[in-house]
């Protein structure tokens, strides 16, 4: 063959190969590039999740009283981690730190963007969730909230609750143990008592009649502990939520802090007594108020209305604090208010961070964690922004 044609043909073949390589190979590799990117994302997610769940962060008690104040300032956090510094067991989270992820925490929270900056996560987004081990709903499947309460009056001295316990995928859980305590008030009287333990039926439904000592109470608070093979969830349910105009209850370490209500009623409120409902299902009388234990719901110059430290409170594993207040509402009367975890560490899914974008190839990791001796599934979603 003529060497000229030989060279021309060689150049044509090489050109075709080159063009093919430029056009086709990136297409062929696109899937792998994406896969490598996903793997990098997975590594980032795994490191982030380990840092969140296994590291205490610095200072180790950053969620508690740092610089002798229970008000939280994000700048306190030098290194982020949610692990408890008092318990060396893996995957035990510090409830004080978890509370600082609640954007409705009146004593301050850690903003998502600030946390991303101290984690050096620029260009990435994440969402952290705490999922309860199972769901507790009304019998018709609706979510339990203030407007859809499982409580109903049979007559003036008889109350009834009815609820349904289901797995997270909706299958009913039979034989779930339901126990609890009721706190209620009428005028200047206050009463409390345990509920008889019962179990759910084959459809996961359970109902019970409660006899009351006070007729037609003004305020009723029923705290239920639902357990499946000793894995428990706690449900606070009430007839009327008085916290919106009396006070919000907060716990920081061993200190109980009352903060301004959403709609303060500008009235003098006395603390009559405080009870603790523990994660083990026990009720402990914590404190009886004195003449000094009172506050005005609206006139305090500071956000905190009242605070008191109870040594060893955290060791009790408090799930709920129940306050018996004496307030002026059409004459002085007793009012029952519960807190602080009713919106955080109970049967609700707790979410912190960004919204997971649809179709973004976000990576999801799951671990089992303990908070206040209760089991939750922690989920972390990470994506590239």
């Amino acid at each position: 063959m003529n060497p000229v044609f030989d060279h021309i043909l060689a150049m044509v073949v090489v050109s075709v190969m080159f063009i093919s390589a430029v056009v086709i190979l990136p297409q062929m590799n696109a899937g792998n590039f994406k896969a490598v990117e996903q793997q990098q994302l997975r590594n980032i997610a795994l490191n982030l999740f380990n840092a969140m769940l296994l590291d205490t962060g610095y200072p180790v008690d950053w969620g508690s009283r740092v610089n002798r104040t229970f008000y939280f300032y994000p700048s306190v956090v030098e290194r982020f981690g949610l692990a408890s510094y008092m318990d060396p067991t893996l995957y035990v989270l510090d409830p004080d730190k978890v509370q600082r992820l609640n954007i409705y925490n009146p004593l301050g929270y850690l903003p998502y963007e600030y946390l991303k900056s101290i984690l050096n996560l620029q260009g990435y987004g994440f969402s952290f969730r705490l999922v309860p081990p199972f769901n507790v709903t009304n019998v018709d499947g609706t979510k339990i909230d203030e407007k859809h309460t499982p409580l109903s009056y049979v007559d003036s001295t008889t109350l009834k609750y009815a609820l349904k316990v289901v797995h997270l995928d909706g299958r009913p859980i039979p034989n779930a143990k339901v126990e609890g305590f009721i706190f209620y008030s009428k005028g200047k009287d206050f009463s409390l008592g345990p509920l008889s333990p019962t179990v759910t039926n084959a459809s996961g439904i359970c109902s019970q009649i409660i006899r009351l000592n006070l007729s037609s109470p003004d305020y009723v608070m029923v705290i239920l502990r639902i357990s499946v093979a000793d894995v428990a969830a706690i449900l606070v349910t009430m007839g009327r939520d008085a916290s919106v105009y009396v006070a919000d209850i907060n716990v920081v370490g061993d200190t109980v802090v009352l903060t301004k209500a959403k709609n303060p009623s500008n009235e003098d409120v006395k603390i009559v007594s405080i009870y603790v409902y523990t994660t083990d299902g026990e009720t402990v009388s914590l404190y009886n108020g004195t003449k000094d234990d009172h506050f005005n719901t609206g006139k305090s110059p500071r956000f905190a209305l009242w605070n008191k430290t109870f040594d060893g409170l955290r060791d009790l594993n408090p799930a709920i604090l129940i306050f018996d207040f004496s307030a002026v509402e059409g004459g002085r009367r007793e009012i029952v208010v519960a807190g602080p975890y009713k919106n955080l560490l109970s049967y609700n899914v707790f979410e912190y961070g960004g919204k997971v974008p649809v179709g973004s190839g976000a990576v999801k990791l799951q671990r089992n964690v303990l908070i206040e001796n209760m089991i939750y599934t922690a989920e972390l979603w990470v994506w590239k922004e």
């Binding site: 060689a10 090489v14 899937g31 035990v92 093979a229 089992n368 089991i375």
Partner: protein, 144 residues
Amino acid sequence: MRVVETILASIVIMVTLTFVNSVVIPPYSPRYEATELEKLGYNVLHNLEARGILTRYVYDPDIAKGQSLLRSALMVSLPSDVYFNLTIYRLDEYGGLHMEGQNIFYGDPEAFQNPKLVSTVTYVLASSGDYYDPRILVLQLARR
């Protein structure tokens, strides 16, 4: 001749690149998923042991009742899309392994057919009290 050499060289390069593409493991491959499930399995057993639940049910004198409760505990502790198959072995004084009770199973048996999609966790409990009486827990996990 040079044309043939060029074409051959180019084909070799293309084949190499295609081969490299085929051996890369994408992140959603069963191998990564199995590793992730393994971590989750250890984590769940560890937390159940930390709360005293695992020891109480594994050493329950009423084996059937203990295993039924352990099944419920695993069902609520693991994510709802994870299937499991737990086998408990007792070690006798001669080092022989004996299966205790029945398999504690939840899910679709077909999910456990492909070994690449199944992760296995082995967890050892030393005793329920003062004397050495080990139980070996073999937990198999598969995603729905």
